[in-house]
C-alpha cells in the first residue's frame, strides 16, 4: 500500500513535468531552439492566475483563461523581440538569449509582485479520495493533472498531424528552406508555435502551483530544468516522448527519495538521464536523424 502512495506522488509531480516538457519539446521540435525561458513563462502564468483569483475574486477557470491569454501574448512578444532577430545566426546565440530572457522574466516578476513568496490556492476544489482506510490518498490535483496532460498530448498530436497549421509546423521542422519555397510562412508558423507553447506553459503553471503551492519569481526555474530533462529522456521533439519522460522522471525522483535518499534524488535522476542517453542517444521515443554532411 505504501509503495502505491509513493507511486501516486511520483505520477502527480511527473504529470506536471510532462505538461512543461510538452511545451519544451514542441518549441524545440519546430523552431529547433531550446527555449530556456519556458520555465519562467510558467511562473508568469501562475502569477496571473493567482492575481485574477485573489485580487479580482474571479473563478478558477477564468483565471486559467486569463493566464493563457497573457502567456500567449507574452510568448509571441518574446519570440518577436528576442528570437526572431537572431534567426539564421548560430544556435548558441539563441540559447544565450533564451537564458537572458529567463533572467529578465524572473527579475521583472520580482519587480511587479515582490520577492516574498505567495501561497497559490489550488484550483481543484473537490476532496481527496481516501482508499484503504486512509492509507492511500489520491488528491484531486493528481487526477486533474493527469487528465489534462493526456488531453494536451492527444490534442497536440492531432493538431500537428491533421490540421493545416500543424502540417506547416512539421514541414518547417523538417526543412525550413524547403517549407518556405512551398509557400509556408515560416515566421508566422514559428510565432504560432511559441503562442501554443506559452499557452501550455500557463496551464502548466497553474497545475504546478496547485500541486506545490509556493509561488515566487524563481518557481519556474527548477521544474523547468527537470521538465527539460524529461523531454530529453523521452526524446526531444517527440510529443508522446515528453509525456513518458515526464511521468518517468517524477516516479524515479519520488522512488529515489523514498528508497535511496531524499537528498540525492537529483543526482539519481540525472544519472538515469545519462544512462538512457548512453543507450538511446535520441531519447526513449526520439527519432535518430542522420545529419547530411
Amino acid at each position: 500500500m505504501q509503495i502505491l502512495q509513493y507511486l501516486i506522488n511520483g505520477i502527480s509531480i511527473g504529470a506536471v513535468y510532462a505538461i512543461i516538457a510538452l511545451g519544451y519539446t514542441m518549441v524545440y521540435g519546430i523552431a529547433k531552439m531550446l527555449n530556456f525561458a519556458h520555465g519562467d513563462v510558467i511562473m508568469v502564468g501562475a502569477y496571473i492566475s493567482f492575481c485574477v483569483t485573489n485580487y479580482l475574486g474571479l473563478p478558477a477557470i477564468v483565471s486559467i483563461l486569463a493566464a493563457m491569454i497573457v502567456c500567449t501574448v507574452l510568448g509571441i512578444i518574446i519570440e518577436a523581440l528576442a528570437y526572431k532577430p537572431l534567426r539564421g545566426t548560430s544556435s548558441l546565440a539563441v540559447l544565450i538569449t533564451a537564458i537572458g530572457v529567463s533572467y529578465f522574466l524572473q527579475n521583472a516578476a520580482q519587480l511587479i509582485w515582490g520577492s516574498a513568496p505567495k501561497n497559490f490556492t489550488s484550483i481543484v476544489t473537490f476532496k481527496p479520495f481516501s482508499l484503504a482506510g486512509g492509507e492511500l490518498v489520491i488528491t484531486g490535483e493528481v487526477i486533474i493533472t493527469i487528465v489534462i496532460s493526456v488531453l494536451i498530448m492527444v490534442g497536440l498530436t492531432l493538431f500537428t498531424g491533421k490540421t493545416r497549421m500543424g502540417k506547416a509546423m512539421r514541414a518547417v521542422s523538417e526543412d525550413r528552406d524547403a517549407a518556405q519555397l512551398m509557400g509556408i510562412n515560416v515566421n508566422q508558423t514559428i510565432s504560432m508555435t511559441f503562442a501554443i507553447g506559452s499557452a501550455l506553459a500557463a496551464v502548466a503553471g497553474v497545475l504546478l502551483c496547485s500541486t506545490v503551492p509556493t509561488l515566487m519569481p524563481t518557481t519556474g526555474s527548477m521544474p523547468g530544468i527537470r521538465a527539460f530533462t524529461a523531454a530529453v529522456i523521452g526524446g526531444i521533439g517527440s510529443i508522446p516522448g515528453a509525456m513518458l519522460g515526464g511521468i518517468l522522471l517524477g516516479v524515479i525522483e519520488t522512488f529515489s527519495k523514498k528508497y535511496i535518499s531524499t537528498e540525492f534524488s537529483d543526482a539519481i535522476v540525472f544519472a538515469v538521464l545519462i544512462l538512457i542517453l548512453l543507450v538511446k542517444p535520441a531519447g526513449l521515443l526520439g527519432k535518430q536523424v542522420q545529419e547530411k554532411v
Partner: protein, 382 residues
C-alpha cells in the same frame, strides 16, 4: 559606438563623484555612523527589507528624541543580494562612507564573508539575524542579536520536553542550508540528552525542495505525532498544505524562520492552526504595538516579522552602548570597537525581542526563548 560608451562612462563617473560627496559631507562629532548590508533585492529580500525598515524606524526615533545637542545617527544601507561577493563590495562602500559600526549582515552567508574583514578593520559588528555560531566565533568584535542556531534548536527541544508535546518525533530539514542544519543538530543533541527518541529524520536540498510530499508521507508512515520543521515558512507552507491534503495532523513545530507564515499572501491561515514556533518577537503583544504601527506606515501595512524587530534592537543596542561609553562621531572605528566590546561583555539590554539580554565573551546572545502557538490566526504565547 565607442564614443557614446565613453561619454556614458564619463557621465556616470561624474555622477558617482557627486554622490560620494553628498554622503560623506555629514561627518561630525554629534553623529555616529552605522552601516548595514542585507539582501534588499533578490530571493531573500523579505529579510533584508524588514531589517532595513526596522533599523530606519529606530534611527528616526533616536534622532527625533536626541534634539539639538544629543547624539544622532547617520544610517546607510547597502544591498548584498544574499551573495558573499556582493556583500564584500557593499561593506567596502560603507567603509568608504566612514562607517563606525557595522549592523549587518542580515543573512548568514554574507555575515561569514564580511566577519574576517571587520576583524581586520577593527570595526564593531552586530548582526541582527545572522544566526550561525560560526559568525560570533569569527572574532571578539562580533556580536549577534538573534540566537545561534544550535542554541535555538536546543531550547526548542527543551520546550517540547517540558510541555510534553511529543511521543513520536519526526524531523524534516534542509540539508543544503546551514541555518536548518544547525537547528536540527541542536535539537537532536538536546533531545538525546533528555531521552526523547527521534523516529525519523528526513531531509531535502535547495534544488529538490519544490516537492516535499515524500518527506511528509515518510513522517506519516513512521507514525509521528510531532514534526519539527527547522526551516523557513516558504517550505513550511508546502508541508502544511500537503499534510492537510492527505489528512495528516501531527503537531508541527517551527523555529524563527517560520515567522511570517501568517502574512504569506494567499496562504490559508486555518492550515497553520495549532502550529507552534519559536520566535523572539510577537507582533500581537501590547509592548510591540507602537513599533508595529510605525512599521506598517512605512511598509504599506505589512506586519513586521522578527527580522524587523531584530534590526530595531540592534540600532538601540549600539546607540545605548555609545551613549554609555561616551563614543561619538569623532571616535575612530577601532577605539569605538574596543569600548563597545568591553561594554557588551557586561551589559544587559531590553528590547523588542526580549528583556534582560546579555552576551557571552564570544558575542552570542542569551535571552529567554519565547514560543508561540497559532490560535485563530494569531500568535498566542505558550
Amino acid at each position: 559606438m565607442k564614443k557614446v560608451f565613453a561619454l556614458v562612462m564619463a557621465a556616470m563617473m561624474v555622477v558617482a563623484m557627486f554622490a560620494g560627496c553628498g554622503s560623506s559631507s555629514s561627518a561630525d562629532a554629534g553623529t555616529i555612523k552605522i552601516g548595514m548590508t542585507g539582501p534588499l533585492t533578490g530571493g531573500a529580500a523579505i529579510y533584508g527589507t524588514a531589517v532595513e525598515a526596522g533599523m530606519k524606524i529606530a534611527v528616526e526615533e533616536i534622532n527625533a528624541a536626541a534634539g539639538e545637542d544629543g547624539l544622532k545617527i547617520a544610517f546607510q544601507s547597502q544591498d548584498d543580494e544574499h551573495d558573499g561577493e556582493k556583500a564584500l563590495n557593499a561593506y567596502n562602500t560603507l567603509k568608504d562612507w566612514g562607517m563606525q559600526f557595522f549592523a549587518g549582515a542580515v543573512t548568514t552567508g554574507p555575515c561569514l564573508q564580511i566577519a574576517p574583514e571587520t576583524v581586520e578593520d577593527q570595526i564593531f559588528m552586530m548582526t541582527p539575524s545572522g544566526s550561525s555560531d560560526k559568525i560570533a566565533n569569527s572574532g571578539s568584535n562580533i556580536f549577534q542579536m538573534c540566537f545561534t542556531d544550535p542554541n535555538q534548536g536546543a531550547s526548542a527541544a527543551q520546550l517540547v520536553y517540558d510541555q510534553q508535546m511529543a511521543t513520536t518525533i519526526g524531523i524534516i530539514y534542509d540539508n543544503s542550508d546551514d541555518y536548518s542544519k544547525g537547528l536540527m543538530q541542536g535539537f537532536k543533541t538536546k533531545a538525546a540528552e533528555l531521552g526523547m527518541e527521534i523516529a525519523i529524520e528526513t531531509a531535502f536540498t535547495a534544488d529538490n525542495k519544490s516537492d516535499l510530499s515524500t518527506q511528509v508521507t515518510q513522517c506519516k508512515d513512521a507514525g509521528c505525532d510531532f514534526v519539527f520543521l527547522p526551516f523557513y515558512y516558504t517550505e513550511a507552507a508546502q508541508v502544511l498544505t500537503y499534510a492537510d491534503k492527505i489528512g495528516y495532523e501531527p503537531t508541527f513545530f517551527g523555529c524563527d524562520g517560520m515567522d511570517g507564515i501568517l502574512s504569506m499572501e494567499g496562504f490559508d491561515t486555518s492550515l497553520a492552526e495549532g502550529l507552534a514556533l519559536m520566535t523572539p518577537f510577537n507582533p500581537d503583544a501590547p509592548e510591540s504595538q507602537e513599533f508595529v504601527a510605525k512599521y506598517q506606515e512605512m511598509m504599506n501595512g505589512e506586519i513586521p516579522n522578527q527580522f524587523a524587530a531584530d534590526g530595531y534592537d540592534v540600532i538601540y543596542a549600539i546607540y545605548n552602548a555609545c551613549v554609555a561609553t561616551g563614543v561619538d562621531g569623532a571616535t575612530s572605528a577601532a577605539d569605538a570597537c574596543a569600548k563597545l566590546e568591553e561594554y557588551f561583555a557586561s551589559c544587559t539590554f531590553d528590547g523588542l525581542t526580549g528583556t534582560g539580554m546579555t552576551w557571552n565573551e564570544a558575542g552570542m546572545i542569551s535571552k529567554i526563548p519565547a514560543a508561540v502557538i497559532i490560535q485563530d490566526g494569531k500568535y498566542v504565547a505558550m
